[in-house]
Amino acid sequence: MFKYVKQLTSLVAMVAVLFAFTTETMAAKKSKTLKNTQKKGFVRCGVSQGLPGFSNADAAGNWTGVDVDVCRAVAAAVLGDANKVKFTPLSAKERFTALTSGEIDILSRNTTWTLSRDADIGLTFVGVNFYDGQGFMVRKDSGITSTSQFKNGISACTNIGTTTELNMRDFFNSKGISYEPVAFEKADEVVAAYDSGRCDTYTTDKSGLAAQRTKMSNPDDHIVLPETISKEPLGPVVRQGDAVWEDIVRWSLNVMIEAEEYGITSANADMMKTSENPQIKRLVGSEGELGAAFGLDNDWSLRIIKQVGNYGESYKRNIADTGILPDRGPNQLWTKGGILYVPPAR
């Protein structure tokens, strides 16, 4: 009989541990994500499987891109070091599940902000770091220069699990053109299939087209058509249910954009501490107590600007200088004719 008593006690102990675990998670709800991140010592960030300009790893495994910089900014703010980020490459299909299941804490992967994603599936979009729209790429020798030249039976390569699949249907239906959708799970496979001639056109966000074009065997053989068939505001996403973490990510992005607006760069940030302008002083942490609202110190925003740079620097470094999209288009500050306009950090 003793044997079973022992089994029983171990079982009871196990059950007790399980319940203790549940009650503990219930109690620490304030900003569990921030607490966990500081405990782990790195930010867990979901990125693409390789999209030059947005999130792309070089041969040494260093990630660069404007999406990557959002995660780096958060790491600089909460951990003091922009390099303390663990990047998880995700396919379009995996990304939301990875976030909601807690495998990552920020999803910064050229993700379109839509109502159903924001409201329906347990996600919160915190802002827009790239204003984009869906376009089409075709082979130059096809002689096609506009989507109005598309004919019935055209085959279109794209990714599954994206807004692209839905927009494509709306577009072709409204034009009354029959088409063959060929949808792959990974972007590299889409590019390979299109490049080899399986599809007549490749459709995704225009920034994606420009970036993927650089991966083709002969980039000059392909052109991106001028038409934009949808609005694709891309931005970082967090899990629903942790308002403080949500704010940290939102304002890390906003600080980068606002810093550009006030001319604060990674080079001059320290000198700006003694600026006359109170808004600049708030951004570099020499006035006000902005960090306290998230439970961070007052230099959080200064670290972002110093270590990652402002939005303009990030754009130039990743997208303009790499030749992907030299023209900032709508992704220019509102003061310079673009639509980048963020609430003031004060």
Partner: protein
């Protein structure tokens, strides 16, 4: 004493219930904090995405449930074709592996060793991204068999257009039933009177002749729509009419067949070698030809050894077909556990449904094969 027996089982049961309870509670709580609702209502919503290849009428205005059905049928299609082709190929290679001819024997074993030792996903990629990519564009394709084209965009072949197909189909079934009874009758006659009827010729005559007759008297007619090349732009062409088989389906079927056939071939070889040499010698000594020995003596016994592990291979093939997602063949995983899951965000529900579906397919195959295995088992009298 009784308690001692029951207690461990009760504890195990309790433990399992608690574990499940914990997982359910945990999922419930997490979904609550993130504002995710659990439910299957999404199945009746409009899917609003298109699918490349479908056996039933489908477009984006249909429901998610319909999209599920499209994916399921595509999975079943590739599994069905794959199982049949892999069985045929496996049988041939398995027998060839035991051939007295050196070249045939070595070719068969080289094929087996080569294809079963390379990961399946790599093979799928090879066929799709390397082999099929080397095919010509539609405008450069050469004519195959007078009216078909093998191109980078798929295989285009004439599509049959039937009139009164139902009459033809019914006749075909009637012919099959007639053949079945005729074979039974011929066997009985041979057992009772020792007289052999030309079974094969008469069966074929019934099977082909009867349906053909419907063309003359039943008003059945068959014509073909041929694929025609059409220019879409300066450099791209497509085919109108005819029937197009997407390269994704071809690559997946090829890879699954070639991979699974190696395992089936080994099962066949093991089955044949598992039959005592004496059986073969005894059969030969009563004057049976080598092919009769194989058909009448070896195979009926070998099948009992071959069937159970081959059932496993059928299950593997069916489950492996989910690798389709890598090359854009719209199977259940790509369409339902991929696009539909993404668009609805119903991860738990959709993964649950998908798992249940594969489980059902696997159990169905398993039951069918077990039934067949029992039917051919030695019946002790």
């Amino acid at each position: 004493m009784k308690l001692k027996k029951i207690l461990p089982q009760l504890l195990t049961l309790l433990f399992i219930v608690l574990i499940f309870g914990f997982f359910t509670m945990n999922a419930q709580e997490n979904m609550d904090t993130r504002g995710i609702e659990f439910g299957f209502g999404f199945l009746s919503q409009e899917a609003s995405f298109d699918i490349q290849f479908s056996l039933i009428d489908y477009d984006g205005s249909h429901s998610y449930a319909r999209a599920y059905l499209v994916g399921l049928l595509n999975t079943l299609l590739v599994a069905f074709i794959g199982i049949i082709l892999a069985t045929l190929l496996g049988l041939v290679v398995g027998v060839a592996r035991l051939s007295p001819n050196y070249l045939i024997r070595k070719t068969a074993s080289f094929y087996i060793e080569f294809f079963r030792n390379i990961p399946l996903l790599l093979q799928i990629f090879f066929w799709y991204f390397a082999a099929l990519r080397a095919l010509p564009m539609p405008q450069d394709a050469t004519l195959l068999l007078g009216s078909s084209f093998m191109t980078i965009k798929g295989f285009f072949t004439p599509a049959p257009i039937w009139t009164n197909f139902d009459v033809f189909f019914t006749t075909l079934i009637v012919a099959m039933i007639l053949v079945f009874f005729f074979v039974k009758f011929a066997k009985k006659k041979q057992e009772q009177e020792g007289k052999q009827l030309p079974v094969l010729i008469i069966s074929l005559a019934i099977f082909i002749g009867l349906p053909l007759l419907t063309f003359l008297v039943g008003g059945v007619d068959l014509s073909f729509s041929f694929p025609e090349l059409r220019k879409m732009s300066q450099s791209s062409y497509t085919f109108d009419g005819g029937m197009g088989i997407p390269p994704e389906l071809i690559a997946l079927t090829l890879a699954l067949t070639l991979y699974t056939a190696t395992f089936i071939a080994e099962n066949v070889r093991a089955g044949i070698q598992g039959i005592g040499k004496g059986q073969k010698e005894a059969a030969a000594s009563i004057g049976l030809t080598p092919s009769q020995v194989l058909k009448l003596v070896i195979m009926p016994q070998a099948l009992r050894i071959i069937i159970p592990p081959t059932t496993n291979q059928y299950l593997n093939l069916t489950k492996n077909s989910s690798l389709a997602a890598a090359i854009a063949y719209p199977d259940l995983v790509l369409v339902f556990a991929g696009t539909a899951m993404m668009q609805t965000g119903k991860a738990i529900e959709i993964v649950g449904i998908t798992m249940a579906t594969y489980l059902t397919i696997s159990i169905a195959i398993s039951l069918l094969m077990n039934w067949y295995n029992q039917r051919i088992a030695i019946k002790e009298k």
